[in-house]
Symmetry: D2
Subunit: 316 residues, 4 copies
Amino acid sequence: MMKSEEVMRILENAIRIGKGVIRYGSVASYIPELAKADKNKLGICLYTIDGNQFETGNTEDRFTIQSISKVMALCLALETFGAEFVFDYVGVEPSGEAFNSLVELDNRSNRPFNPMINSGAITVASLLVNHYSIEDMQKYMQDVCEDPEIAVDEAVFQSEMATCARNKAIAYLLKSKEIIDTDVEDSVTFYTKMCSMSVNARDLAMFGLLLANDGVQLSTGKRLISSQTVRMVQTIMLTCGMYDGSGEFALRTGIPTKSGVGGGLLSVSKKKMGIGIYGPSLDKKGNCIAGCELLGYISEALHLHIFDTREWKVEE
Amino acid sequence: MMKSEEVMRILENAIRIGKGVIRYGSVASYIPELAKADKNKLGICLYTIDGNQFETGNTEDRFTIQSISKVMALCLALETFGAEFVFDYVGVEPSGEAFNSLVELDNRSNRPFNPMINSGAITVASLLVNHYSIEDMQKYMQDVCEDPEIAVDEAVFQSEMATCARNKAIAYLLKSKEIIDTDVEDSVTFYTKMCSMSVNARDLAMFGLLLANDGVQLSTGKRLISSQTVRMVQTIMLTCGMYDGSGEFALRTGIPTKSGVGGGLLSVSKKKMGIGIYGPSLDKKGNCIAGCELLGYISEALHLHIFDTREWKVEE
Amino acid sequence: MMKSEEVMRILENAIRIGKGVIRYGSVASYIPELAKADKNKLGICLYTIDGNQFETGNTEDRFTIQSISKVMALCLALETFGAEFVFDYVGVEPSGEAFNSLVELDNRSNRPFNPMINSGAITVASLLVNHYSIEDMQKYMQDVCEDPEIAVDEAVFQSEMATCARNKAIAYLLKSKEIIDTDVEDSVTFYTKMCSMSVNARDLAMFGLLLANDGVQLSTGKRLISSQTVRMVQTIMLTCGMYDGSGEFALRTGIPTKSGVGGGLLSVSKKKMGIGIYGPSLDKKGNCIAGCELLGYISEALHLHIFDTREWKVEE
Amino acid sequence: MMKSEEVMRILENAIRIGKGVIRYGSVASYIPELAKADKNKLGICLYTIDGNQFETGNTEDRFTIQSISKVMALCLALETFGAEFVFDYVGVEPSGEAFNSLVELDNRSNRPFNPMINSGAITVASLLVNHYSIEDMQKYMQDVCEDPEIAVDEAVFQSEMATCARNKAIAYLLKSKEIIDTDVEDSVTFYTKMCSMSVNARDLAMFGLLLANDGVQLSTGKRLISSQTVRMVQTIMLTCGMYDGSGEFALRTGIPTKSGVGGGLLSVSKKKMGIGIYGPSLDKKGNCIAGCELLGYISEALHLHIFDTREWKVEE
């Protein structure tokens, strides 16, 4: 059994461990607006299933959600269209390729490998754009994160649109293969806007808690997402959430996690907690370098590895 | 709470469901000796962590373990050399490629993607061959499966050696890249012999139980495998165990599983049970077609999906 | 020594041979407007360096020049910017890939393999679009083909623009790699317009004669293209002109040739003749099936293989 | 018209130009025995079709023929089995890949792309090994080079056999695809021995002259190779002879050429001359760096580009 002070002590250690590796990473540079981030920022927030919150560091700093929005978009698509329909357009296999790869799409498969890489997420966005406005998507993100402040960061959005040639290449390739049938420009705009939503570490922890609690909002007892969707989304996060570093990350931490190049990390520990992390210094695969390091420590200290057989308890 | 009769009823349903798809698969044909198998065979055995055994169908039929031996070999290598050493030679990323792919090795990486594909397993075998005889390996498999009858099926072994040009190609490629430094012929022979070990569904269930019980033998309370190795092995089975169908299988069943072209399936449900299945009719990716189908049903019926939040209990 | 009647007899044989294989091909179907072509059309025109013209079949039928325009565009780019500049943006290696491949661009090289595949030709178009209007390009084609009637076929142009998602994917990929720095839409429009120019077999034969005569217009003695450009263009036609069938075609005919999916073939026999062929029934690689077949015969009959050591002479 | 003194002056210039770039290359290092070569050596020999010999530098130094033997092996195979049979096993397309690539074989085609890369040449060797001993092959090379001294360099042969894991990987892959049906070890040994034949620049020039003279031995008037084979071999040399640098080399020199990592270059100028070069300093693609440079100069100075329209004549 663990007391609050013990958890806080572990969090403080985690932050120290994370800070120790910040200098080995660097902020995203391919989008000019993201390059302005302060690489020394680091914050972590835990919302546990028994109602506690633990946090330390820069948990209120806002940053763009980027690829973590792929998880929300997938949830919304699965709830709207059903798994069978969605997975007809996008697979669920890890690709062993980088996030922005085109090769795997053109050469090795007839549909994107999975919804956590750009080609898959743009496909999901093209499904959503038929049914939802970007305001609907924003509202959905506000709801699952319980934060009405979530909104498009216009500066980042404009910066990304000015440098999204590769995503347009992916989208036109999808179009040419008849995987997306909506307007390419509309789909890329929707995708880029959802990536430009501004969140903080608490928002991610809250969304993580929702998934950890099987899709039921802890505060209200209201089911927001079906059990089946929650199970599928966690599985995909575990196998594909960290791009071509997914396998190693799963081995080490055993925590379903999704990263964004804005510096965010969303982690879920089933029936235990949601975790949100912010740290814009990235490793070579585009994942928050401090967060990956400290999650390894936290997984061991709090017994969060999915194949850990030890008891877990946080008590007042 | 579930009673024994309920579990047996579920197993009977499972067998019925499995039998319904046998005709859509076919036995392995690329190894002449394997082509002789009776595709209508099907058996399943469950060993639960509270000491029960449930089984139905052809659970005593012997077949060659094939790729499932990759799991035992990985366990032995991790316990002998440590994770850091082993994962210096072989990665842990799903590759999105078929089991016998060479391309991913030559083009996309400097080491095999993971130990569940042939290139990775041959690399593991080349580490083992320096320290162990094939008799040692046989003894290890007998121990973890609690079956002293496990032995090389000579007919299958000879048949495989006569048709192993592709594995030799892989091994020589590994040699040329200095990933293996032992004799190529020795490594391929060791690998082929360990794949030719003859087991039954009960053996696989018993080994599954060992992993489900965190590496501790249930009957004796003796630890055979370390917790860390057990966690890593289950993670790799989940992300890479079913070749390029791993992601979809994980999504659907959420049960760490490894298949062999001999028709075997090894499944682990943490703190719940080990499952062994035999059914030589294979799907296009080389996995037991009936077993994959019935595991989907069992996962739902017994709440075995790793991200399932429901209680599980089997009672007398 | 060969007399005119002999040449005409050979041409008649060639047409018969070509017609014999028309049924094994089919007209281009991916562009709706091209699908309307009559697959039984076949025509061939020879302009020899000693001033003779031989022709038979549908040599006056107009069709869109398609990929053959890549040769004119390359000539114009080389003459305008010089070889060093142009080949900094696009390579000269055969790729072994199909005409519309993206993989080779993203995975195997930092620039398009050569100017005869779409990625290379779009790159050349992006260089030209900075200096020339499409009217300039049209004028250039009229000049080198000595046909003032050459103009954009608006129906084909519109049809292609409506189905050019893959070319846009290629162009945006080039943009993302900073290989093209002009506006993507402008470059694709220029490229598509130059492909939509309407020509006949005589036009192609006339342009072939210009190349066969080292870039000097036979009728006026005026040099239109430099010797160096002519040599380079013929080399690239020989090694890369028939997509992933270039090697086999070169082996068999030894005649630098470029095909277009509109059904055209442009062939050059140094110091001997230019050849233009029209036949919209295409083989699987997108080359005029009758033309490829009959060029094999003509090459042998008229001693046109580039490594043929026999004398050649057409006399009155 | 050019006099002998003029040719000699051009050759001296060529050597000077070649020597200027030697320092940018390095000797082959992957075969220990080859690493012993003196990188400053350079020699060139021309045998013209009118019976003259011009040479300068190290034209009597012996070195192993390496990949240039692929040309002789192809000639022998074509003469023995016919083109149709041979090209059923190996293609004639440039691959855009390095000489020792496996990927193109496993991923992009069902047979080796062409006989000038290792996979293709090992396939040709496997055809020959059924009909010829290595002594027969040696005799063939002695005949076409008119040098009875050609023999296996045992030190190089042993050195290569000790480091041929990649070639064995290729051969076993070919075996697994049923492209070769002979014993793998026999085929690799035959291939390695033919690569280990010791020649000098004069030998290569003499073989080049034979090809330049349409397969007829100049001294005796005896036809050694058929016209058809000579045409095909030159075409393949032009399109595939310099590995993934073939296209650029063809553009620049227009001379069918084959390189070997022993430092040799074999060039053919139809109806003009054969050229042999020795210079063990190699560029990054494995081609003699000085030879490639000086051939560019010689091609221009002597009008040897295959698409050059200028007259050529060497007179006493």
